[in-house]
Symmetry: C2
Subunit: 596 residues, 2 copies
């Protein structure tokens, strides 16, 4: 898919700004923190007992995702400081890679005798991310040195896991290698990598220890519901969809479709976030979507994008592009601060500071305190997977915008951009989602399919059109689509106990939230008036309008309990785009609010 | 106060039934479980390493509360099996008590060298409960053998803590000894016990370690807000009120009044439960009253009764008797099953079974899972303080009904009963709270003060009356009061985030709740119609009417999110008395429900 990075160009608007910020600020911020914390230095593979910055098991994957992002950016333009650092890392890999092909900064220094002994040591996960980065560098820049090194590593893994079967486990504890191998196969044409990827997929659920957390409870084709650690699960489903594409495996495709439906019908937050609990960072039961203790890891939103991208290729249905859009504007984008330098690992849908009580020291030691997500973004984490995952996603947004089949071009996401390939050009002019106006002009195409988002109730197209799988098919060379961006109130399914009686506001694809610092009263006292139309107010700070809407403050007397009555005072409620929460200091936040 | 046990007699009705059940069933159930678990045998003081049933530090207090209950019951009538067991225990105490007076089944066997070295070892707490039991046996039955033994123990504690100051701590970790010593002083007239009780009170907050959890953060007269472990705190406040009464210490009295107001205005559940968290079993911040994770220990409700009983004596204000009533019918009574044999330690206001997800074994090991109270009552606990605390409370309900001052009799709680003392008789005939009709006839009195409950909006008295501190003063020899028992909807203060927009139903003093097994739909989908009048339906099972009221089920489509609308289907909602929840199997429960 990476060819698209050169065929598609972002020109202006919302995602161009995000893309620029990633290149100019976030890439350096992540690099600097990785350098500070020893992750970069770890590639020297010279750590010894007693030295600081002991390489952790997942460090290689953190750096590899930054490398993948670097490859995408270098594919678009030369950026010397990035090129230099990427090449430095590849030098270190070449220098330290073992003759057999093995490379892992943790196991080559900290636990040299324990290679491939621990299913949960993220070893194949790290390998997979390095392979993806190497594949990206080859695809985007034609560079083969890194790719060759990673092919040697893949060959070694093939030998150990597939030929000799001499590793202590056969099912990777944290998926990633599967999709990386299929990508490596695509780049190199080497079928062994596909074979090994399929082997890892097909072995899953057939050898103990059987468990849901690592998606090893059932063979993949029998997995009907999303289970266990969300990021692991979604990387698996992504690989399954990739494998279904490569092998035309209908059973695998069918399983993917079932998993997608299970997630989007039962287990996904309004923001696209998935993972309802810190405990195991996992999918839980249907409709268990607590707002305050939501895990909704940034990486899980990114993984949803990866999975949906593959499903979209398999099925050409707008539901997948709809979810990608939901993730992009909400669950993913909330993972990064507006200044591009700090990150959320978890993306809750509610913060109530009053519940974060300070106990005496002796009391916090006791068990039983509810764990709550942090309230302010951090520059780096102990396991800092999300920041470089944002790097690579924001560096390759172009891949999500279009797809081409013959002379038909599909527009999946709306960004001011152009596509040119095979003698066709498509130019999209839009300030979406500031407004819902999207102007399209094309040359050389037979037909343009443009997605009509699932959230959109009213739209117009100034040319003839027909509908096809959620896309409007327009044959004209130039046309304009207007999506009605009027803010709307949403409710959750009646089975979601956490959101009973509550409403959320969306404007186009963007979920809004209230922050405590904008209101005079605590958020739990506010009621949205769902009969009122929110008014928009431009906001340079957030990049999208903020909303002011009518609501009420609920009042009682000063006693603790009294006779029930509904005593409401009118008030104005300010709502901001959810992705922008927690940028103005620590304060309360709610997506789902009381509503009448 | 214990003289009242013989002056007041329960005749019929709600509390007579509870009292009988306690005597006939619960006393034996608690004894049997205490025998099974080794608590009774521990009084032989012959435990040695390798034997089972190693005496735990709080076991003496568990048994002592049963002994106190036994004393009350024997004061009312001879019950051979109880007398025999009580005497057997006293024999063991006399037999094993050390010459110096010390007695503790744990420290005399398990940790013989560690006497009075650990502030948190419940040693003085156990001593206090034994002293209370001994005082009760003397007061109710005139028996002095147990009292004499416990006076020797108190003398020893006086010597160690007050004269020699040779113990490793000077502030008891779990309060109880303070109020027990004042009680011992009242029974014996021995001022040293009062002196020692005051010493313990006055030392608090003056010597490190200073901490809120044990109420050692400030000197008692400076404690303005309820802090730390609820039961400990309330036993302390009870002792403070006792001391204020004995010494006419205004500053102490003032502190008690402030603490009472802090609790009842900010920190008490509708049921009277206190303690918002399992973590430290403690008071938290104002308005932090989560329903599902409520601690609301049965013992804390009983301790609230003890504290309010003392405050009522100090101030003659109905607010204290109101809280006693709230505790009796709700937070205390929910602690015991309808069959009298099983107990709740924690009394939550909500159970949602769907949230109690079963994870794979590997996942529950991870930190971060929210701890939730158990959903079914148990026969005994590892720390089984609540069951015998119910025993002693239910065995001495008579003390809460009346008080006498000169020729004026106050009726604090309404139960079919009679009082006779000092040539006066008062006969109360009532089936309260089945109905609100209370018939009073008196001889020899000048005036009857009858409490008009705070929950009561309409009442009538068929004679002339005036109001005085929340009591109607009636000079007639016979009169009838009718309290309007129409069920009413209640709301919580606007600052209680957990109950925002929710209503609860009370009928008279009794809080109601919905249980899942009575409804066709999950409780979170139900809305109470606060405009509808609940209909009453007699229920022998619960002892009070159940309520059927109009409400709605909220409906959505089958998708996860959709455009907001209020789609309500009419339904009937069944409500049962809160104290009766969890008697018909494991099911969901809610006190606070969505409401319109």
């Amino acid at each position: 898919m990476e060819e698209w990075i050169r065929k598609v160009r972002l020109r202006e608007g919302f995602w161009k700004q995000q893309s620029d910020k990633n290149r100019e600020i976030t890439m350096r911020a992540v690099w600097d923190r990785f350098a500070d914390t020893g992750r970069i230095g770890a590639f020297r593979c010279d750590w010894k007992e007693g030295m600081r910055h002991k390489p952790d098991v997942y460090w290689d994957s953190d750096v590899a995702k930054w490398m993948e992002a670097a490859a995408y950016l270098l594919g678009k333009e030369e950026i010397p400081w990035i090129r230099e650092r990427l090449e430095w890392l590849i030098d270190r890999i070449e220098e330290n890679q073992e003759p057999c092909g093995y490379f892992n900064t943790h196991f080559m220094t900290v636990e040299p005798g324990r290679r491939f002994t621990d299913q949960d040591a993220h070893e194949l996960y790290c390998a997979g991310h390095l392979m993806e980065a190497a594949a990206a560098y080859r695809e985007c820049c034609g560079e083969t040195r890194f790719l060759n090194a990673m092919c040697r590593y893949a060959d070694y893994i093939y030998e150990i896991f597939y030929v000799q079967k001499s590793a202590a486990f056969s099912v990777p504890g944290h998926e990633e290698i599967e999709l990386a191998l299929i990508r490596l196969y695509r780049v190199t044409g080497e079928r062994r990598y596909l074979e090994l990827g399929l082997y890892f997929l097909n072995t899953r659920g057939t050898v103990p220890p059987f468990d849901r957390q690592r998606q090893n409870h059932l063979p993949v084709r029998s997995q009907k519901t999303a289970q266990g650690h969300c990021v692991r699960a979604l990387y698996l489903y992504t690989a399954m969809a990739d494998a279904a594409w490569e092998t035309e495996d209908e059973a695998l495709h069918e399983a993917c479709r079932g998993l997608f439906l299970d997630i989007t019908w039962h287990k996904m937050y309004l923001t696209g976030g998935v993972g309802s609990t810190y405990t195991g960072e996992c999918f839980t039961e249907n409709y268990d979507l607590p707002n305050e203790t939501a895990y909704a890891e940034t990486c899980a939103s990114i993984a949803m994008i990866l999975f949906c991208e593959r499903m979209l290729r398999l099925e050409h249905s707008s539901v997948y592009a709809d979810v990608i859009e939901r993730e992009l504007y909400n669950g993913m984008l909330s993972g990064i601060s507006l200044n591009g330098k700090a990150f959320f690992y978890e993306n809750p849908l509610e913060i109530t500071l009053a519940k974060r009580l300070e106990y005496d020291e002796g009391m916090v030691k006791l068990l039983g305190k509810v764990r709550l997500p942090i309230t302010q973004r951090q520059e780096v984490f102990t396991c800092s997977c999300c920041p470089p995952n944002l790097n690579r996603t924001l560096a390759s947004l172009e891949r999500l915008l279009y797809s081409v089949e013959g002379r038909t071009v599909c527009i999946h996401q709306f960004a001011d951009s152009e596509l040119s390939c095979d003698g066709m050009t498509v130019r999209v002019k839009t300030d979406y989602p500031v407004s819902g106006r999207v102007e399209v002009s094309a040359t050389g195409t037979e037909c343009i399919l443009i997605r009509i988002p699932g959230w959109c109730r009213h739209f117009s197209i100034d040319r003839e059109w027909t509908m096809e799988n959620g896309y409007a098919c327009v044959k004209a060379e130039a046309f304009t689509v207007e999506f009605d961006m009027t803010p709307e109130y949403r409710m959750a399914n009646e089975n979601v106990w956490e959101d009973a009686g509550k409403a959320a506001v969306m404007r186009g694809p963007v979920v809004y939230c209230a922050e405590g610092l904008d209101q005079e009263e605590s958020l739990h006292k506010l009621w949205l008036d769902t009969g009122a139309a929110p008014e928009e107010e431009d906001s340079e700070y957030f990049g999208l309008p903020i909303l002011k809407t009518k609501g009420w403050v609920r009042r009682t007397g000063s006693g603790l309990y009294e006779k029930w009555e509904r005593r409401m005072e009118e008030t104005e409620i300010t709502l901001i785009p959810y992705y922008g929460f927690a940028n103005r200091g620590e304060t309360d936040m709610r997506v789902w609010m009381n509503a009448l």
